[in-house]
Symmetry: C2
Subunit: 323 residues, 2 copies
């Protein structure tokens, strides 16, 4: 039986303006991007909430992509709506609207099936909700192999004790460099990583490997167009961003990265350092596709062959011979 991958996050409608185009109330949200990237590797399940305005076509879209949406709650009210406008450099954006709608009262509820997930990714929501998910899977925790977490500056500022409580229970943290600095109080990222990894004690779970034993906690620091740094137990790995000439819309890049990363990890069921590196490359490949078109559009039409081509391109971009 293959591993079960579960994510908790938002399913939203996004209104996006970039210098290269605009789109109104299109399918978005962290759980959507995550699942649409992960489904190239496995059949992901998502837990989220939508409102009465959520379109049948979007339900169909998820189903067609073989994403398990049995955990997608429907509540009275409107679907979470985010509107934003990107600046010329695409690195900065103004949030024009954040209408939480039904998301405001979101309380994730896991079915028995979902509690038995092997790989779990807690998308960027209130740490208390992330914790409630972990409490629900507690009874099944012997089965859990890896819990990944995303968060943001808002929770670091507003809910640090809750965040620290979740961090004690996870195996993999994915944050950006500004957040890593904020969370650790260290500007230097190597120093920051050491401090953050200390907030994540080893769980003694996972997929032990002969060479490395039970995998220690992992920290991935995202650096936008510069790529990422991954830290584990004194080891460091760098992967650059894929140098695209035409970036259309950065929305969802981070969630697509996480989806590719977790999708590949759960499909390969291997948590060695070498395989974690590969998972980063798959994640980055998915992120690089994601930004090529507005919204989730590009994630819907990636071909298998394009993924392996991009992996080869990443290798060409980074590898050199020494001696």
């Amino acid at each position: 039986m293959s591993n079960k991958l579960l994510t908790i996050g938002s399913v939203a409608y996004d209104s996006i303006q970039t210098p290269f185009g605009k789109i109104n109330k299109t399918l978005g949200g962290s759980a959507s991007y995550f699942s649409l990237a992960a489904r190239f590797f496995t059949r992901p399940s998502l837990i989220a909430v939508v409102g009465e305005d959520f379109k049948k076509a979007d339900i169909t879209l998820f189903k067609k992509q073989k994403i398990d949406i049995s955990g997608l709650q429907k509540a009275k009210g409107k679907t979470f709506h985010w509107a934003g406008k990107y600046h010329f450099d695409l690195n900065t954006r103004d949030t024009l609207k954040t209408e939480l709608g039904v998301f405001e009262k979101f309380a994730p509820e896991l079915s028995k099936d979902h509690r038995n997930s092997d790989y779990i990714f807690l998308g960027n929501i209130h740490p208390r909700l992330q914790l409630s998910v972990l409490n629900q899977i507690k009874s099944a925790s012997r089965r859990t192999k890896l819990v990944g977490l995303d968060t943001m500056n808002f929770w670091i500022e507003k809910a640090l004790p809750d965040l620290k409580a979740v961090m004690k229970k996870i195996d993999l943290l994915v944050i950006n460099e500004g957040e890593a600095r904020q969370l650790s109080g260290e500007y230097n990222l190597s120093k920051a990583a050491k401090k953050i990894l200390k907030m994540m004690p080893p769980k003694g779970r996972g997929v032990p490997s002969a060479a490395e034993g039970t995998p220690p906690p992992v920290l991935i620091i995202k650096q936008g167009e510069y790529g990422l740094l991954m830290f584990q137990n004194g080891k460091i790995f760098n992967l650059p961003g894929y140098p695209l000439e035409n970036v259309i819309d950065p929305t969802g890049a981070g969630d697509s990265f996480a989806g590719g990363l977790m999708g590949y990890l759960s499909a390969s069921d291997n948590l060695s350092w070498d395989n974690l590196k590969k998972a980063c490359v798959y994640g980055s490949a998915m992120a690089s596709f994601c930004v090529e078109e507005l919204g989730v559009k590009r994630l819907l039409n990636i071909k298998e062959k394009e993924i392996s081509q991009r992996l080869k391109a990443f290798k060409k971009l980074t590898h050199f011979e020494h001696r």
Copy 2:
């Protein structure tokens, strides 16, 4: 006979304040850092000017490091003095003083010996002076294998026609990402690189390789702590910055990079894409050493073994297995 490597630039006294220490009127300048990094690979020659206050001890220092300073002019007046203060993040700095002194009237003069250099690096000085150097070696140009160039935003703003004239005559340009954007008018670095490489027509010189023929022009875009991107004829290579925990003083990192790069290229006399990548790693290794202590101090005590260790560390940092 081994290749001759020549650089033109500044030899200066620097007064540096960083959050981790300060040092007064210490040996600095682009030609100093360049040569002190390059001398691990070859015996570099430098062309620069100093004033009457230039210390005997610093002459001895160059000689002891086997750097050819027969092209170091001594003029009436004071040695170029730069004073700067770095902010907490070490990425930004305030210039407190720029006293050009004898550098103001610097006119590079090449001896017959220097005109016969195989590898030439034009440090960051007025493009008109860079051009005058190239005019002096014109007669010996059949011998020249590679001319590298450094420049800065100041010349892009104040002397663009001169800069474009030099760019037509060089083979390798090293600039930072802000300058690449400014020079090309493109925010996207892949697009910027294409435009900039068009300003550098192929010269049909160099060290032809069986696989690649005469090497096309090369552009290296430095990205500070994020490392670099190298572009040539549609190919791209990324190398991250070395993740140091203790950066003490970023002064001279770029010049040390160029010194390591050019030193390795001239010693190996191989301009293939694979060897250019290796040269970037050697350059980045030298830059990573440079920033570990104030001023040029660390460049004076690097051990051969440390260089090969850092190369291995770069490989570990970047390499992953694909399939």
